[in-house]
């Protein structure tokens, strides 16, 4: 067999193409040479010219070839009829079918086919010119084309063959060495050196195989460097731009990463907070029902009583002159009293209520749960977020509660006060001085009172609730807002009550 060439390796250890035993032929890689393919690679290795196109993941046809749990990898090795000395018969040969099978199996360990069930990843290899080692050249090119196609892979596959020529183990056989050599041993391996393809024919001892494997590992390392360099050249963006962008991206990623974590924890706490809110809202709902029942009756009663009393007594005793005094006195007294009393009462009530309800509920639950469970960092975040959530819920709940509570208590207090004060003062002052004509004027006075009182209360109430707000530091500014809003609406409670004597007047005026 060796008669056609005397020696494949010269005495000084050089091969016919000038290489040493452990050297590979020069390799050239071009990426993205086919516009219609998802990934492509043109590779020249010595005189081998290989073109690879990768398509997919795409729908697998025929359908029965689909796999429910992963993509089907299809590898078609095809030799052009003009690629070899004697024209090759076009179409698949037994050799090309076998090479296709083992090459496909060489890629199966690294292609993450499980990410694309029911699809096919097609690797089409065209050997345009063959000069020994076409299957390894095709695998090297396919690895690049797969990367170009963006197919997720655990790493690149690198292939290289060793053989035996003139009794010597050499790396990467060329055509002469393949034809007249004694063995051919193609190997494909992962970047970690795991063997994914092994074929062999010829005559090799186990020792020669071990020696050859060392050469193959060296060859594959060199080829891997060429592959990586080609990929970098194609896909790497300039370093300067990258560094800045990467820093920003990293920071952004960090933020993204840190934010969701706390958000998840906070959400859990929110649920608890919502439960509390739900309890509160239930209570307030009950209270509002009670309040709604109480207020109309009370208003009516008050109106009736006051009107009757005032009318009767005033009619008899009040005089014109006293009207002015009465007005002044009433205004002053009521102002003072209302101010004082409202302030006190509101303060007390709000303090109590807030302290009791909020402190109990929030301090117990929030403090225990939040303070104990949550760390300091989370507290801030939680508070912020809780505030937001609580805002909504608490605003509603607090408004309702405050309304109710204030209504109830103010009603009671005002009832008493009004009754007492008005009775006493009116009785004392008015009884002595009032005359017959006061009816009309009283109505006017009452109307005026309404206005003044309403104004006063608006002024008074915020002051009254300033203290509770300060005390509820934990509940934060937003609960305070809720309180404020609540107070504004609370004013409706006393408003109604205070209105009562005069309400008829105002309404009458408008209606009239």
């Amino acid at each position: 067999m060796n008669d056609k060439s005397d020696k494949l390796i010269t005495d000084d250890g050089l091969r016919l193409d000038g290489r040493r035993a452990d050297e590979i032929r020069p390799m050239k890689i071009e990426i993205g040479v086919l516009s219609r393919a998802d990934g492509s690679c043109y590779l020249e290795w010595g005189r081998n010219k290989i073109l690879v196109g990768v398509f997919g993941p795409r729908e697998a046809h025929p359908r029965r070839s689909q796999r429910a749990d992963s993509a089907v990898i299809r590898y078609k090795y095809n030799m052009a009829s003009f690629s070899v000395e004697d024209r090759a018969r076009p179409g698949p040969s037994r050799r090309s079918i076998e090479i296709s099978k083992v090459s496909r199996e060489a890629f199966e360990p690294v292609i993450m086919a499980e990410l694309f069930p029911k699809t096919a990843i097609d690797i089409f290899v065209e050997v345009l010119q063959a000069d020994a080692g076409t299957r390894t050249a095709a695998i090297n090119a396919s690895s690049i084309a797969l990367a170009d196609a963006g197919i997720p892979m655990k790493g690149l596959i690198t292939a290289c063959a060793f053989g035996k020529v003139d009794g010597q183990v050499v790396l990467d056989l060329n055509k002469e060495e393949d034809n007249y050599g004694e063995a051919d041993f193609p190997v494909a391996m992962t970047q970690d050196g795991e063997i994914t393809l092994v074929q062999m024919d010829g005559h090799l001892t186990p020792e020669e195989i071990k020696k050859g494997m060392e050469l193959v590992k060296k060859g594959c390392k060199e080829i891997l460097a060429i592959q990586q360099a080609a990929l970098r050249k194609r896909f790497e963006t300039p370093v300067e731009e990258v560094s800045e962008e990467k820093v920003i991206e990293k920071e952004a990623k960090k933020e993204e990463l840190s934010a969701p974590k706390t958000a998840i924890i906070v959400e859990e706490e929110h649920e608890e907070a919502r439960e509390i809110g739900a309890e509160i809202s239930e209570e307030s709902a009950e209270a509002s029902i009670i309040a709604s029942e109480v207020i109309p009756d009370f208003e009516e009663d008050l109106e009736e009583e006051l009107e009757e009393e005032l009318e009767e007594e005033l009619e008899e005793e009040l005089g014109e002159e006293l009207e002015e005094e009465f007005e002044e006195e009433l205004e002053e007294e009521l102002e003072e009293e209302f101010e004082e009393e409202l302030e006190k009462e509101l303060e007390e009530e709000l303090e109590k209520e807030f302290e009791e309800e909020l402190e109990e509920e929030f301090e117990e639950e929030l403090e225990k749960e939040f303070e104990e469970e949550l760390e300091e960092e989370l507290e801030e975040e939680l508070e912020e977020e809780l505030e937001e959530d609580l805002e909504e819920e608490l605003e509603e709940d607090l408004e309702e509660e405050l309304e109710e509570d204030l209504e109830e208590e103010l009603e009671e207090d005002l009832e008493e006060e009004l009754e007492e004060d008005l009775e006493e003062e009116l009785e004392k002052d008015l009884e002595e001085e009032l005359e017959e004509d006061l009816e009309e004027e009283l109505e006017e006075e009452e109307a005026e009172l309404e206005e003044t009182l309403s104004l006063e209360k608006e002024n008074i109430e915020p002051e009254a609730e300033a203290e509770p707000e300060v005390e509820e530091e934990e509940i934060s500014t937003e609960t305070a807002e809720a309180e404020e809003e609540g107070e504004e609406e609370k004013s409706e409670g006393p408003w109604k009550v205070v209105k009562d004597p005069s309400e008829a007047g105002t309404r009458g005026e408008k209606d009239e």
Binding site: D86, R94, R95, I97, E98, S100, K101, V102, E105, E108, P109, F185, M189, T190, G193, E194, I195, T196, L197, V198, Q199, M200, D201, G202, H203, L204, T205, P206, I209, K210, M213, K217
Partner: protein, 263 residues
């Protein structure tokens, strides 16, 4: 169906593997019982039937005259064909050979060709005009795992008992086919982290990768093929080669050397 069974049996076989055991009680380096019969088909120039456990393979060798390849004018031609007949397994279907069949036939062919088992120079009748073409047809009759080792053994046994039909062509007396080597193929299956010989059908279904190593009587390797998708570590490759060579020598001594002497 077989895939489902394999999935269910996978744990079982894995657990056995961990305990250094196999389904049928063999050691990792044990073959199932081999039974070799030669000259089972009188119409063929050479034939052999191998039963390996329940796996049955029949090889018939036919010789015809033909023209040599242009690049080897003075050499006979070897054509190996392996068919996965539907009779052998419910998994096999009629039709053109699947890639597994093509791969196996090429591995069997490679072992015989590359080891130089047949002295092909002696198959030349007239240089450049007429040579003997040796058709090695491997028939799988029953697939119970490791068809390839059974086929390798049956093929070499059939070749060793082949008579060249010179009388038929008016070329003188029939002579035995000139043999130079006795290649034996041994398949090493990798299951988990263990290597074992002669995988049964279930073990083949479970194993991720197989390595068939055809070795010659001088302890060298003539052909090798990795089949299956799992990678193989370098040490495993060397271990498999050593296991295969050792086992091949054993099989050669037990079954083939007797055939050579009987000629």
């Amino acid at each position: 169906m077989s895939e489902i069974i394999a999935t269910l049996k996978k744990d079982y076989i894995y657990n056995l593997m961990v305990k250094e055991k196999r389904q049928d009680g063999r050691g990792f380096k044990d073959f199932r019982d081999i039974k070799l019969e030669t000259n089972v088909i009188s119409k063929a120039e050479g034939s052999a039937k191998v039963t390996l456990g329940n796996t049955q393979v029949l090889v018939g060798v036919k010789l015809q005259t033909g023209t040599p390849f242009p690049d080897s004018q003075d050499e006979g031609v070897i054509i190996t064909n392996l068919e996965l007949n539907p009779i052998a397994s419910p998994e096999f279907e009629p039709g053109p050979p699947r890639e597994e069949a093509i791969e196996m036939s090429r591995v069997v062919d490679r072992g015989i060709r590359e080891s130089g088992a047949i002295d092909i120079k002696k198959l030349c009748i007239t240089v450049g005009e007429s040579v003997w073409i040796v058709f090695i047809d491997v028939h799988i009759l029953n697939d119970d795992g490791n068809i390839i080792d059974a086929s390798c053994l049956a093929a070499i046994a059939a070749l060793m008992t082949t008579m060249v039909p010179n009388e038929q062509q008016g070329l003188g007396e029939n002579v035995p086919l000139a043999m130079k080597e006795m290649p034996v193929g041994v398949t090493v299956a990798k299951i988990g982290s263990k290597l074992m010989l002669d995988p049964s059908l279930d073990e083949e279904a479970v194993c991720e990768t197989k390595l068939t190593i055809v070795s010659s009587s001088d302890g060298s390797v003539a052909g090798m093929q990795k089949m299956g998708s799992a990678p193989l570590a370098e040490e495993e490759l060397f271990e498999a080669i050593d296991m295969a060579i050792e086992k091949a020598e054993e099989i050669r001594a037990l079954y083939l050397e007797g055939l050579a002497k009987s000629e």
